[in-house]
Symmetry: C2
Subunit: 282 residues, 2 copies
């Protein structure tokens, strides 16, 4: 397994691989790898000749009062996990390499970036779109895999790829959960025991919504209220949002039909913001 730290080296390697006719797969990550990431590697592995993952805690997608400083970092652990998962190359740049002094260019996917998580995290998706555009230009992948845990992110990346004509196939991967249902997240490492117990009610509320929809409920307000009650009567979590939207384009729904997304963001404890979602065909 190779580790490449500079942009020119990575571009040179990508050019060599493409000239040899190799198909490049990219899984972009912020490290602190867990089973969710490993599942992305497993999905990408048979679809490409060379599997590249980037490990970069991207500062432009963090807000001023967010957890950039304390975000978990464990390159040695990540390296081992990449090796066992069959990763060929880790692209592991420094912050200065990615954002040298005087950096000023940003990619924005308007509309999609201001709703849901974008309301609480105003420049988050601008940072995501920008770093992914950079990674596509640096790693030059034929395909790239994104997890549905960050559902809005995946939709925004697909829209950016379509609008800016990146010649990259985007593959969406299902959420990986702990045995009790909690969605895997690097931020789960922040949770104290009691917070970990409370956090379970995010997924339980999603399952409760699924249950009442399957039972015939079609009133969006009633479903959202049921989710709110499930969370609030079982935890001290502060709900950031509960949204039910079109799973394809994240549009608002007049009536509950088609492929729908139910998405939740909650603050648990003082500093941890967790997100989760399910999709349903109604």
């Amino acid at each position: 397994m190779e580790i490449i730290k500079t942009i020119p080296d990575m571009q040179k390697r990508a050019n060599e691989l493409r000239n040899e006719g190799k198909r490049i797969g990219l899984v972009p990550t912020m490290g602190a790898l867990h089973e969710g990431h490993i599942s992305l590697f497993k999905i990408a592995r048979p679809l490409c000749d060379v599997l590249i993952t980037s490990i970069f805690v991207n500062p432009t997608q963090f807000g001023e009062n967010e957890d950039l400083e304390i975000y978990p970092r464990d390159f040695e652990g990540d390296e081992k996990k990449c090796k066992s998962a069959g990763v060929d190359i880790i692209f592991y740049p420094s912050t200065d390499e990615m954002y040298p002094e005087g950096y000023t260019t940003f990619v924005e996917v308007k509309g999609l970036s201001e709703i849901m998580c974008g309301r609480t995290r105003p420049n988050h998706f601008r940072g995501v779109a920008t770093v992914v555009a950079k990674l596509f230009n640096i790693v030059k992948p034929h395909l790239s895999v994104f997890g549905n845990k960050d559902y809005q992110q995946a939709v925004i990346i697909e829209k950016m790829v379509e609008d800016l004509n990146f010649d990259v196939e985007i593959i969406r991967a299902p959420i990986v959960r702990e045995s009790d249902g909690l969605a895997m997240s690097s931020r789960n490492a922040y949770l104290k025991d009691d917070e970990r117990r409370q956090a379970l009610y995010i997924y339980r509320a999603l399952k409760r919504a699924e249950e009442i929809i399957k039972g015939g409920e079609r009133d969006i307000d009633v479903i959202i209220e049921e989710i709110r009650e499930t969370i609030e009567s079982n935890s001290d979590m502060k709900i950031d949002y509960i949204e039910i939207r079109d799973a394809g384009n994240l549009g608002e729904l007049e009536v509950l039909e088609g492929e729908i997304l139910i998405s939740i963001a909650c603050f648990v404890g003082e500093k941890t913001r967790l997100i989760d979602n399910i999709t349903l065909r109604v």
Copy 2:
């Protein structure tokens, strides 16, 4: 010479060319080709195996009250000029092909896009950066040539390429002028005889500034005033701006030294906005 009208066809062709080891050169244009564009073809021609030009009047770089509707279009004439200049492929997409309904993604080079021409044309450079990013992803050039007539545009494209890590070599080309000094521009076609005569004083004012700087003048305000007087005492043109800046990064100058840019924008007649510039080493 091939003419390609769709994005998938152009990407397929670009992939084929790259797989054959061909070096692709791109000259992006809005058509209405003149000697200025031809000079870009001539510069690109020996540097690449396959010379591609794009002809696309890009709506996102025009403001609401600007000349998008009347911008000169002459595809047949352009085609002939491309053929004689040794162009291999014209990429000639429709507006719907480039900006389908629901288009929402933009590339912004902050800071550089808000000064000079950006003050009068607030979203102009966002449109330019966005369409060039798209063209780079569609045509996949190894190198691309930009004329210094649109000096600020060329600096912004270089910054976008650097910041977003596009693996494209940017080549800057000198301004081509009519025999009397007027900078070649597709917008010169708008000029009535008397306006054409007045427009000459843009370049004459630049030359006057050069003359007094060579004579020892170093006071930026005095030089700008001399330019203003040259224009205003010889024409009815309305000055949009006269700027003297660092030619490298367009930064403001405290003292007149190094490689400097003197840039002018003027409105001549009712609808025509012309720009011109010179660079000097002081």
